[in-house]
């Protein structure tokens, strides 16, 4: 399946991926509204770690054997057998955060429920990849460590 990979050698710590992820997961899809007025506040699904010297974005790896799915007590977290995308169904998530505790990449975000990358479901290019100014994020066919 196509996955998002980060190339730390080109990550410039601008963190625009976080801004555009948050926007992509907002209701308005407007970057200014998403950050300034929208309630509830949209949540970015990825983390940029590090500083200007070394930084990289951490996205869900959409593992072949996702620990988050195995840990989910409600069935909200599922790996789509067709697309391979691991999605958390926000309607069903009760916020126990078992997935957060299970993910070996720390890629699931803890809030009142769990939030995670859905590869911008249905979009040809996830928002973080599309808007990375330095191609530090790439969206290509590839495997997962797990």
């Amino acid at each position: 399946m196509k996955r998002i990979y980060a190339r730390e050698q080109y990550c410039i710590n601008c963190r625009l991926c976080e801004c555009f992820c948050k926007t992509a997961h907002s209701v308005s899809k407007d970057i200014i509204k998403a950050h300034k007025t929208e309630k509830p506040e949209p949540v970015s699904r990825l983390f940029v770690e590090g500083d200007n010297m070394l930084s990289f974005a951490v996205n869900c790896r959409h593992c072949d054997k996702p620990a988050c799915v195995e840990a989910c007590i409600t069935g909200a977290m599922v790996k789509d057998p067709e697309t391979g995308i691991v999605i958390n169904n926000s309607e069903r998530c009760v916020g126990c955060l078992s997935c957060v505790l299970a993910c070996p990449y720390g890629a699931v975000k803890a809030g009142n429920i769990a939030y995670k990358c859905d590869l911008c479901r249905g979009e040809e290019m996830p928002a973080c990849v599309k808007n990375c100014p330095n191609r530090a994020l790439i969206y290509i066919e590839g495997g997962s460590e797990r």
């Binding site: 990979y5 951490v58 409600t74 009760v94 957060v100 505790l101 070996p104 590839g142 495997g143």
Partner: protein
């Protein structure tokens, strides 16, 4: 090939999926004494609270059994296993080539006088328990919950939404004694108290007379409804009937095969290997059941899912928006362990370290990226190979550059 699975919980349902992945043709039958499609057992407290309605309980999609061509025998209990068949309570026999016992746990009922046959006494394990309890409890009912473990406290939180008088009585010196240390347990009970749940520790209920629960110290607590939640026991009755070997739970090899090569077992009824302390014990945990179910299912159908290398205690649970995470050894018994504690308000982080390896941790109200710690415990990662102070904050940044590259990939991983 005829596959039969007894139990429709996390292990059973995961096994069914894994079997179908490897064997498109064989017949799969799931037997359960509950009349429901598989649901997340821990959801029953949310059901009581009302945040999850009964129609939202099912764990899989409504068409799951149909899509996977799984025959269901629901609402009937398996009575015994003999010569290649499961005998149901109806007397009907279900033949199998490969059988999975995923019968889970039974509630442990302590010796409290006044329990037997009492309609005001409830357990809290299944959806039916929750349905009955929800029906019985009124806003002004006085509920005493015996047991301040995960189940007892989740029951308390759930019931709090529909009832004003809830008391939890725990024998140990703290709540969540099985998974957390004293300091962490006290934060949790303080938080529960703040939210209107009375917590009594170091005490137990000796008797119940439908008006009062009499405690060990002689104190009487007003009580109309008693919920027994002191713990669970592996449900091994059927396994016994099949004559397979049983220790603390059903004994399996690392492919989840029992002493009878055609019979597998998975989930809460199985004796697991705890990689954090090297003990063999019952680890009645959801992810553990799912993994074991997948391994069992795969091997039953001739697949080769990597063997179970052992598991570890792992819990994430929320009480009134306070998240509590525990993993591995949280309260070391001897001083060969180093512990590091970080606190800030309600936030509490405890790390248990031995021989340069993180053996366990507690995170109260600090869930951010907790899974990275879990991975350290599971992988027995030498902490000296990490940079920075991971007890302050943990990220992939603490790993070496090569490890980071491997984890976030550059497309090199194929």
């Amino acid at each position: 090939m005829k596959y039969v699975i007894i139990g429709n919980g996390a292990a059973g349902i995961s096994a069914a999926g894994a079997i179908r992945k490897h064997d498109k043709k064989g017949s799969i039958t799931v037997i359960s004494d509950e009349p429901y499609a598989a649901y997340g057992r821990p959801l029953i407290s949310y059901f009581i609270k009302g945040t999850v309605t009964q129609d939202k309980m099912p764990y899989k999609s409504p068409s799951f059994y149909e899509d996977y061509r799984i025959k269901t025998v629901f609402g009937q209990s398996a009575e015994k296993i003999e010569s290649g068949s499961v005998v149901l309570n109806s007397g009907q026999r279900v033949e199998f080539d490969k059988l999975l016992i995923a019968t889970g746990s039974l509630p442990f009922i302590p010796p409290i006088s006044g329990l037997s046959g009492n309609p005001n006494v409830f357990t809290f394990l299944k959806l039916d328990d929750a349905i009955a309890l929800k029906k019985a409890v009124k806003r002004d009912s006085r509920v005493v919950i015996v047991g301040g473990g995960l189940i007892g406290l989740k029951a308390a939180e759930g019931l709090h939404a529909i009832c004003d008088n809830i008391t939890v009585v725990e024998l140990a010196d703290r709540v969540l004694a099985a998974v957390i240390d004293k300091q962490g347990g006290d934060i949790v009970s303080d938080h529960l108290e703040k939210n209107g749940i009375k917590c009594i520790t170091g005490n137990s209920v000796e008797a119940f007379n439908n008006n009062e629960a009499i405690l060990k110290n002689g104190e009487a607590v007003g009580c109309d409804i008693l919920v027994v939640a002191v713990g669970v026991r592996p449900n091994v009755r059927l396994a016994e009937s099949a004559g397979i070997s049983i220790n603390k739970g059903i004994v399996t090899n690392e492919n989840m095969q029992t002493s009878n090569p055609d019979i597998y077992a998975a989930g809460d009824c199985v004796e697991s290997f705890d990689i954090t302390d090297g003990s063999k014990r019952i680890l009645a945990l959801w992810p553990n059941a799912v993994r074991q179910g997948i391994i069992a299912g795969s091997h039953m159908a001739g697949g080769a899912e990597p063997a179970e290398k052992g598991t570890m205690p792992l819990n994430s649970v929320g009480f009134f928006s306070l998240n509590v995470m525990t993993c591995g050894i949280t309260d070391p018994r001897d001083n060969s362990y180093e512990t590091i504690i970080k606190t800030e308000g309600q936030k509490y982080k405890k790390f248990v370290i031995k021989d340069d390896v993180l053996r366990g941790f507690v995170l109260v109200d600090s869930p951010h990226r907790a899974g990275l710690y879990t991975a350290l415990v599971r992988d027995k990662k030498p902490l000296s190979s990490l940079s920075g102070d991971i007890t302050e904050e943990m990220g992939l940044i603490n790993f070496s550059k090569d490890e980071i590259k491997k984890k976030i990939g550059g497309g090199e991983i194929q």
